[in-house]
């Protein structure tokens, strides 16, 4: 338990409100035909796995628009998992092949921008792989746990004490002192 969060807003997750300790929030996009069924199997076989994962069912991994993943981060996810059928098993024959290209590129792109690679995961889980599913979830939760809460969209905090060296070194520029807009933006910028 790394960091105690501020008092969550009413609309936020009850779980957070209860123990007020940081738990990773992980959004998982599962294809209807394989991974979702795999997760179901894990459930019916009473395989235990970490509960910090919130599943969104989609028809196919090919349906996962990269925007879904980005939007999840914007809206406060700490990690994202996308899971679909193994290549060759796609219910729509080729959906996951197309998806694979998109995911590879998106992953490279956002990691280039500086996203921690422990936050974004992809897997192939078939309907018969209940135990693989639980393994994947546990791995993902662990990785996100280690990465900690995602604060990438909080405004960079610049104050005299915690002079952030990163951007300053980089662009040879003084710290951003957008105070007036920070003031305004932090209202929308907070998770």
């Amino acid at each position: 338990m790394k960091k105690i969060k501020d008092k969550p807003q009413e609309s936020e997750d009850l779980l957070l409100e209860k123990d007020r300790l940081w738990q990773p929030r992980i959004v998982a996009f599962l294809c209807n035909w394989c991974s979702y069924a795999g997760a179901d199997l894990a459930g019916t076989s009473r395989i235990k796995y970490n509960p910090q994962i919130r599943i969104i069912r989609v028809p196919c991994s090919g349906r996962v628009n990269p925007l879904f993943i980005l939007r999840a981060f914007i809206d406060g996810a700490d990690g994202v998992l996308v899971s679909g059928c193994h290549p060759g098993d796609c219910h729509y024959s080729t959906g996951n092949y197309f998806a694979r290209r998109k995911f590879a590129l998106l992953k490279r792109l956002i990691e280039f921008c500086g996203m921690d690679e422990r936050r974004i995961h992809f897997s192939w889980v078939s309907a018969a792989e209940g135990s693989k599913w639980s393994q994947v979830v546990n791995d993902v939760v662990n990785a996100v746990y280690q990465a900690g809460p995602f604060t990438g969209f909080d405004l960079p905090v610049f104050s005299k004490e915690t002079e952030i060296e990163t951007p300053a070194d980089l662009c040879k520029q003084g710290p951003e002192r957008f105070a007036y807009s920070i003031d305004l933006m932090s209202r929308t910028g907070k998770k």
Partner: protein, 367 residues
């Protein structure tokens, strides 16, 4: 064309004082306690008005900021209110007025003058509290341009690089490290009273020097354009075929309007997450293809019509309403347009049209 500005900014009889650079720095250092200070800062190759913490951060160099002064009063994005769904119904919260005291130092005369243009819009039929409360709580110390940027053309619009409108105090560097200070408004006087010991009376030769400098600079800059004639032409020629030609090349990027200190269009958008959200006011531009699509439809489907709108707004519509031009000649649009569109060129093209219309082209060609 530039009629006097009848705002309720309390002008006083201008006082001529003199102050040294050191004293200015001292005043700023003292002001940082209790006030937010904004000044031009160069960062990563661009110059912006930013909040500063010590006078060393100020960039006193020539030239204007890339983003105009308007962003301090009419921020690029600003919440109007926030809403939240609760068990008891929908709760709405307004952010309230901005009442932090702020001082802007180093603003250029064109930017300050432009505020008098946006002022009129924001307190026209509806009094915009957010903007006006920013205005009310901000004191502006302008700095005259003793070396205009290559693209400036304020003199062509009957303004001057030493223009006092909009500033509370106007500094003019008359010698190395010596500034001539005009104290223009009541706010300016209040600041002067507080830091009286730093100012000295302006010597007559300083004032004379200032006048000579102004004369010298203005003599080099473009002579006034016949804006009255252009307005008369615009009144009649909304449908003139030349518009299509004038606008050729414009890619509709909105750079000219976003950087313009007098453009003031905004868009309203709601952003919500879960049960809570905010209504925000963001800058918008008539150059965009989707402008005003939110309330109704885009009445100007083609880019040249949108380009015409920008010119018309600056040189006709605004005059119709508020009897002055909505351009201060800061030159931002000219220098940064990616397609090389040039407001001065537009004015000249229109001038040529007028000459063509009146048979026997009279040469009116000082640029």
């Amino acid at each position: 064309m530039q009629t006097t500005i009848e705002t309720d900014i309390k002008q006083v009889e201008t006082m001529n004082k003199q102050i040294s650079k050191k004293a200015i720095d001292a005043i700023i250092s003292e002001l940082t306690e209790g006030c937010q200070i904004f000044a031009p800062v160069v960062q990563d190759g661009i110059k912006l008005y930013k909040q500063i913490e010590s006078p060393e951060q100020i960039n006193w160099g020539h030239g204007n900021c890339h983003r105009s002064l308007k962003e301090l009063f009419f921020p690029i994005t600003e919440p109007v209110f926030s809403f939240r769904q609760t068990r008891k119904g929908i709760q709405i919260e307004t952010p309230g007025n901005h009442n932090k005291k702020r001082v802007v130092i180093g603003a250029r005369p064109c930017d300050c003058n432009a505020l008098s243009i946006t002022d009129k819009v924001f307190k026209w039929d509806y009094e915009d509290e957010l903007y006006l409360s920013f205005r009310e709580n901000t004191l502006i110390i302008g700095v005259s341009c003793i070396q205009p940027e290559p693209f400036c053309f304020c003199t062509a619009l009957n303004l001057s690089p030493f223009d006092e409108t909009g500033s509370d105090i106007l500094l003019t560097e008359t010698g190395k490290g010596i500034y001539h200070a005009n104290i223009i408004t009541e706010k300016g006087v209040a600041l002067f009273e507080r830091f009286k010991e730093h100012f000295t009376e302006a010597s007559p030769d300083q004032s004379a020097r200032k006048d000579a400098m102004l004369k010298d600079i203005v003599s080099k800059m473009p002579a006034p354009f016949p804006m009255q004639d252009i307005k008369t032409w615009l009144d009649k020629n909304f449908d003139h075929p030349v518009w299509e030609e004038i606008a050729l090349g414009c890619i509709g990027c909105g750079t000219c309007t976003y950087l313009c200190p007098t453009c003031h269009c905004f868009d309203i958008t709601d952003e919500s997450r879960g049960y809570a959200g905010e209504r925000l006011r963001n800058w918008d531009s008539c150059a965009f293809g989707h402008f005003t699509q939110m309330p109704a439809h885009q009445p100007r489907p083609l880019q040249w019509q949108r380009f015409r709108q920008r010119v018309m707004h600056k040189f006709k519509y605004y005059i119709d309403r508020f009897s002055r031009l909505a351009c201060v000649g800061c030159g931002r649009c000219r220098s940064l347009c990616p397609a090389g569109k040039d407001t001065v060129e537009v004015i000249q093209t229109l001038q040529k049209q007028i000459d063509l219309a009146e048979t026997g082209p009279k040469t009116n060609k000082k640029g």
